[in-house]
């Protein structure tokens, strides 16, 4: 019970930390929003009005407190740019981002696990070398280069011209496949190198452990060693890896993919908010990302309990 409470406390501190830093940077030190809202030729009274509305006359802690309250009650306001209520914006864009990113994210990890296993089992032989060289090569290519190249090769007349160049007109499974394939391939290509490295190292370490030697000493066939002993023991690190790379891959990756392919997800919305200085949207995104991060951490802890008998119940 005590550890649950302490984890919760950590989570709260984390959310506070994230919101504090982003509030500090974006709002406190950030640009004065007054003129973006009412233009340059306003009267002094109008300026005063807007400033009071935006809360510029309030002290720091009051404004920060206000921000936290808004987050907690999901009173997220409306976008400065479009006037759309932020909650509606989130409800519209988050599902799109999930549909876009999840296949590539999962595939990238599954492929990384498969390749890492191959490399670890054939350690020191040519299979290992080939996998290693391929991963290093993939890791040396910029995401941007991959996106541009794949778009040219798959969606333009200079290449196969099989897929739409950009956009997201999804109204069924077939159209979903059409729009999600090229971004997914790009995402897999870019993440598979790093994933393979990580998983290879993990499996090499697992294969070297004493209990694997014991299993072999009693005549266990290689397939059993892989599926029963190595994989089950690797579940905790694998889960950790997948869970903790979600923020990095899904959130940051979606920003680039959506901006480039014109997909109306939360990444694109965030990018537009960044360039236009749309604070309500940015505040919401940061706050929710922090909360998501904490939820992921908690979920991971729970999964550990299921997977590893050594973790105290």
């Amino acid at each position: 019970m005590r550890s649950v409470a302490s984890k919760l406390l950590n989570g709260v501190l984390l959310v506070l930390g994230v919101t504090f830093i982003s509030f500090l940077l974006m709002v406190w030190f950030g640009p004065d929003q007054t003129y973006t809202l009412i233009g340059k030729n306003a009267s002094p009274e109008q300026i005063e009005d807007v400033r009071r509305q935006l809360g510029y006359d309030q002290p720091f802690w009051q404004r920060y407190g206000e921000y936290l309250r808004e987050l907690a009650t999901l009173d997220l306001g409306a976008s400065n740019a479009s006037g759309e209520p932020v909650r509606a914006l989130l409800a519209r864009t988050v599902p799109v981002s999930l549909l876009l990113m999840i296949p590539g994210f999962l595939l990238g990890n599954l492929l990384g696990i498969a390749l890492g296993l191959t490399a670890a089992r054939h350690r020191g032989r040519w299979g290992d070398r080939v996998v290693t060289v391929l991963s290093v090569t993939a890791m040396s290519i910029s995401f941007l280069v991959v996106i541009i190249a794949f778009q040219v090769l798959l969606s333009t007349p200079y290449g196969l011209n099989l897929f739409p160049v950009r956009g997201w007109q999804v109204d069924g499974f077939v159209s979903y496949l059409q729009y999600v394939t090229v971004p997914t391939l790009a995402l897999v290509f870019v993440t598979v190198g790093y994933n393979t490295r990580f998983y290879r190292a993990l499996f090499v370490e697992e294969y070297g452990k004493d209990h694997i030697r014991t299993a072999r000493a009693f005549g266990a066939p290689e397939r059993l060693i892989l599926w029963k002993h190595v994989l089950k023991n690797s579940m905790v690190p694998i889960v950790t890896r997948i869970m903790f790379s979600i923020p990095l891959v899904v959130i940051s990756g979606s920003l680039l993919l959506e901006s480039y392919f014109g997909i109306p997800g939360i990444g694109q919305a965030t990018f537009e908010a960044i360039t236009s200085g749309d604070q309500p949207v940015l505040k919401a995104v940061v706050g929710l990302t922090a909360v998501a991060f904490v939820l992921i951490q908690t979920a991971t802890e729970l999964l550990y309990r299921l997977l590893d008998p050594r973790v105290a119940r």
Binding site: R213, T214, A217, F218, P221, K232, N233, D308
Partner: protein
């Protein structure tokens, strides 16, 4: 003379270190007679464990190379055996117990799951039969509540108990040869004697020959019939234990014995 159950001729092991190769076991030859306890003595790094791994076919394939004229177990030459056939031998006719009981068992599976494996795999027993056989084995090792032990996870048992479980697994199929590589070095002193007693006793009951690898001459004196002294990959002396201690012929053996005597005052 009783029948020779394991016959090793010119066994060498080479380890790859970057581009070069290091000879860690150099032309080792010896015989192991049925039912005897043969000690393989030497300081750490002399190649004892690699010899054992070589006999078991457990050398890391990318990094180590094996050369041998003969590793004859019964009438099968293990050195010429394919991987699949060797797999069937391990745990059934030839078993091994390792030094570190704390890490030798799979931490995510219960003890019962692991202990019943040799019974199911090599003796084709059903889950229930294997479970009974396993419990019987634990009882022979003096464990009062085998059923509870079987349901535990390895991390819930002490080092001595884990080693007993491993010993039970090794003896499950009454192998012709049991190799024990420093089986008690990692255990505390009081448990050491118990486990060694159990080991030798089980071996005798099953008619298993034991190759006991150790650096502890006290263990050699107490439990072994014959001894091989190994230095830097080679066997430098081979003698009955009594003869060895009374009149060692090689300088290195003399040094080892003198050092051990020095320690025990």
């Amino acid at each position: 003379m009783s029948a020779t159950v394991l016959s090793v001729r010119k066994l060498s092991v080479f380890l790859r270190d970057g581009r070069a190769e290091q000879t860690v076991v150099d032309g080792v030859s010896f015989d192991l007679a049925a039912g005897e306890v043969l000690a393989l003595v030497g300081e750490s790094g002399c190649g004892k464990s690699k010899t054992a791994e070589a006999i078991m076919g457990l050398l890391p394939s990318g990094l180590a190379r094996l050369e041998a004229d003969e590793i004859r177990l019964g009438d099968v030459n293990l050195a010429r055996l394919g991987a699949e056939a060797m797999r069937r031998v391990r745990g059934r006719d030839l078993s091994m117990v390792f030094q570190e009981p704390m890490t030798a068992l799979d931490p995510v599976f219960r003890v019962g799951n692991q202990l019943t494996t040799p019974f199911r795999r090599h003796r084709g027993q059903s889950r229930r039969d294997a479970s009974n056989s396993a419990e019987a084995m634990l009882r022979r090792l003096g464990m009062p509540d085998p059923d509870r032990v079987m349901r535990r996870y390895p991390h819930e048992l002490s080092g001595g108990m884990r080693q007993r479980v491993l010993l039970a697994m090794a003896m499950a199929c009454r192998p012709q040869v049991l190799i024990a590589d420093e089986p008690t070095t990692a255990l505390d002193v009081t448990t050491q004697a118990q486990v060694l007693e159990d080991l030798v006793r089980l071996g005798q009951e099953a008619g298993t020959a034991v190759l006991l690898i150790t650096h502890d001459l006290g263990v050699v004196a107490h439990y072994a019939d014959r001894a091989l002294v190994m230095q830097r990959g080679r066997i430098v002396e081979e003698a009955g234990v009594g003869d060895l201690f009374r009149a060692p012929t090689h300088d290195y053996s003399r040094a080892l014995i003198a050092a051990a005597r020095g320690l025990s005052g």
